[in-house]
């Protein structure tokens, strides 16, 4: 005997993701989810863009998904903003942040005055792409150290994102990275991607990225 089922196995995550969106909507809070391979520069980028957002009167909070240490959160502490550290296991736990942990983080940060959530997802391009966090926008970082074909190897991460940030531009020449090819590969996987080239170290491109994030932030509030 056969029983037909046809049920989405990620249904629970999707319900929780929409709960994240509802909760934020009530408070006019936007949410950006940063994804990348380990070592692409997510934490450093956040360190540099947060003060710029604050200058524009945005009160950001960070939801930090570090597999097993508090190192990333510690780096962000001097910024004096609310941080929710989602730690899994001392020997490396979850490979992504599911919507249920984002919901928990929203509850923890409930009393803080926040306009914008910045999620630093677990460094991994496979699993975070699969699970909706409940963010408004997914950003994918792609550093010049990574090899130009990364979008072709991990198409889903680039499909679910609408902003791509090519990072570590200050060392692109030394590495002889083909930035045009990186862009071409990104657009091949996602022709509608908005691409920014940045260097957290020199500050190149950070203004453009922040301006665009602010523009998006405002459009969500409307």
């Amino acid at each position: 005997m056969e029983i037909k089922i046809v049920k989405n196995v990620k249904a629970e995550n999707e319900v929780q993701a929409s709960e994240v969106r509802q909760k934020r909507k009530l408070k006019n809070q936007s949410m950006f989810n940063f994804m990348s391979s380990p070592g692409s520069g997510k934490t450093t980028l956040l360190q540099k863009i947060i003060p710029r957002l604050q200058e524009k009167k945005i009160r950001p909070a960070v939801i930090e998904g570090d597999i097993s240490t508090a190192n990333d959160a510690k780096k962000l502490q001097p910024l004096n903003i609310p941080i929710s550290l989602i730690n899994t296991d001392a020997f490396g736990g979850d490979c992504h942040l599911g919507a249920h942990v984002i919901l928990e983080a929203l509850n923890i940060l409930h009393d803080d005055e926040i306009d914008m959530f910045l999620i630093e997802n677990v460094g991994n391009l496979v699993c975070p792409a699969e699970f909706d966090t409940g963010a408004d926008i997914n950003l994918v970082l792609f550093s010049v150290t990574e090899g130009e074909d990364k979008p072709l190897k991990y198409p889903l991460a680039f499909r679910v994102s609408s902003i791509a940030v090519i990072s570590k531009m200050d060392i692109a020449d030394v590495l002889e990275a083909d930035v045009e090819l990186m862009k071409k590969n990104i657009l091949q996987v996602n022709p509608e991607m908005k691409i920014f080239t940045v260097s957290a170290k020199s500050g190149e491109g950070l203004k453009n990225l922040c301006d665009y994030m602010l523009e998006k932030h405002k459009s969500f509030k409307e």
Binding site: M1, E2, I3, K4, I5, V6, K7, N8, V9, K10, A11, E12, N13, D94, C95, H96, G98, N124, V126, C127, E130, F131, P151, L152, Y154, P155, L156, R159, L187, Q188, V189, N190, P191, E192
Partner: protein
């Protein structure tokens, strides 16, 4: 890498199905469908299936059948529809952006009972 989480989802659904349909006989086969874009490793799914099935008598001898669904896209501009074998999401007819219409989802499709 995310196969364990996916299998947990499958077993949650299976438990609900067993309850809803008041299944009391052994389940022989579980049919799972997953899109190519989801980058799931069938061997890894099989491994986690074999781990989780030990916890449930009705599923302990079940076989997991995995079907990979090919990527199908449709051009947003010229509406051309075709199968995709490489990750090129630019319309091969007009150069427009394409949207995925199949091959980016996963679901528990059916079960077969003794």
């Amino acid at each position: 890498m995310h196969e364990m989480g996916i299998m947990q989802g499958v077993f949650q659904q299976l438990q609900e199905v067993i309850k809803e349909n008041q299944v009391t006989r052994r389940i022989e086969k579980v049919f799972f469908k997953v899109g190519r874009l989801n980058a799931v490793l069938p061997d890894s799914l099989q491994f986690y299936f074999s781990v989780f099935q030990k916890e449930n008598d009705l599923l302990s001898s079940a076989i997991l059948e995995i079907e990979i669904i090919d990527l199908q896209v449709r051009c947003k501009k010229c509406s051309a529809q075709y199968a995709l074998s490489e990750p090129v999401f630019i319309c091969s007819y007009c150069g427009g952006a394409v949207e995925v219409i199949a091959g980016d989802k996963m679901w528990l499709d059916s079960i077969e009972i003794e």
